[in-house]
Amino acid sequence: MRGGVTVLPGLNAQVAAGRVTGLLGPSGSGKTTLIRSIVGVQQVAGGTVTVLGLPAGTPELRSRVAYVTQDASVYSDLTVAQNVSYFARILGAPANDVDRVIHEVGLDGREGDRVGRLSGGERSRVSLAVALLGTPEVLVLDEPTVGLDPVLRRDLWQMFGELAAKGLTLLISSHVMDEASRCDDLMLMRDGRLLAHDSVAGILAATGTDDIESAFLSLVEGKP
């Protein structure tokens, strides 16, 4: 339930560990509500959400699950370094993590800049840097690549792949269908319902299409 509206009626799914799962669907399809339920900040009217074997939102999960909200949830009146250090201390991450994550999102040299003066893309990178702090086992990212330049987008997807290779579980939402090819598994959503949940190849094979956009259309229109 979100804002008094039932958003996700009878959705049943399991996200595989150690893989990049893309959560794809148009705006308003329930991606954010699903993500909020998984990180435990959404009031759930019914059903169960289990993360790493524990009920979602359990205190123990708060340092094991990292969450990037859709808007860059960082302090615009602090510098890049001040933002990252603050969250690092809240998470109890080691001090050298601050430099590491700033480097990983390509913001070296911008540490002293006020976040409010950064561009939208740079701001979401600060937000992403915060999610990489410490040693999360699950990364949940709500539209992390919106407004980023293609080079950085490619680099980030490459990093997501590397993180998954290290054993992290990533759930990444997007409304851009061409990002689907970068994922291992896909969950296609529309109007709060899960249309398909399979590997990229599996979905293409099942729908007999060549790209995810067509696969999505064929699923929506109920064609074979």
């Binding site: 990180v39 009031q43 969450y67 960082v74 302090y75 602090l78 109890g92 006020r114």
Partner: protein, 243 residues
């Protein structure tokens, strides 16, 4: 709850203020200007009578507004949601804010009382430290009330409206306009349960008597109690899971 996360949060709020010179300047300068205005327009005797209680009320109002808007901004920007998905206790968040704005309240109280006594000629019978104690406790009460009401405001517009709704009635009933003994019974009883009444009583005693009686400490204690309850309710009304 951990002391570290509380202190780290307080430090972060102070860092934010460091980048916002205009707000800090307004917080420090506006009460001084208002006190100067009072000193100018009132006779010496009247300035002592009205200036002293207002010395406690200005910090309360300023801190109330600052805190309620700051917390609401944190809600709207999504940083609160992010923080609450991390291992931080709700009390860490609330106390961190109280600590940071309390600190600002101390600075404000020192500046305004110093200027009022030293330059505007406010005549204090009691010790200056007592004046500062009351001003600081008032500022902290403002912070606590601000944190509490921000839970009931969905927008910054609403948050600002809580000022006339919650603070102005207290200002009318706290004894500055009509001594509380002379209020109609119902209103007097009402004023008995409003924190500002006790803040003003404490300040009045600082002005009029050389040594602080047990009543002074009782009044300060009541204000501190309201502050503690405000903070507890502020932490209690924070929700990790929202609709």
């Amino acid at each position: 709850m951990t002391a570290t996360r509380t202190v780290v949060t307080a430090r972060r709020v102070v860092q934010q203020l460091q980048h916002d010179h205009r707000t800090v300047a307004l917080i420090l300068v506006v009460p001084c200007v208002l006190m100067g205005l009072l000193a100018w327009m009132l006779s010496d005797a009247d300035f002592n009578q009205y200036g002293a209680p207002l010395l406690g009320i200005f910090p309360l109002i300023v801190m109330f507004l600052t805190t309620s808007v700051a917390t609401l901004r944190e809600r709207e920007s999504g940083t609160l949601e992010r923080l609450l998905s991390m291992p931080i206790a709700k009390a860490d968040f609330v106390l961190g804010y109280a600590l940071a704005f309390g600190l600002l309240g101390v600075v404000q109280a020192l500046v305004v009382s110093g200027l009022s006594v030293g330059v505007f000629g406010l005549d204090v019978a009691g010790p200056t430290w007592a004046l500062i104690v009351v001003a600081v406790v008032d500022a902290l009460l403002g912070t606590a009330l601000g944190l509490f009401v921000s839970a009931f405001a969905k927008t910054e517009f609403q948050a600002v409206q809580f000022m006339p709704a919650l603070i102005l009635p207290q200002l009318l009933l706290c004894g500055i306009i009509v001594p509380r003994d002379e209020l109609p019974t119902a209103l007097r009883l009402l004023s008995n349960v409003l924190p500002m009444s006790y803040a003003v009583d404490a300040m009045t005693e600082v002005m009029t008597s050389a040594s602080m009686s047990s009543d002074f400490w009782l009044n300060v204690g009541v204000v501190a109690l309201f502050m503690a309850v405000g903070l507890a309710l502020g932490a209690g009304t924070l929700r990790r899971r929202t609709d």
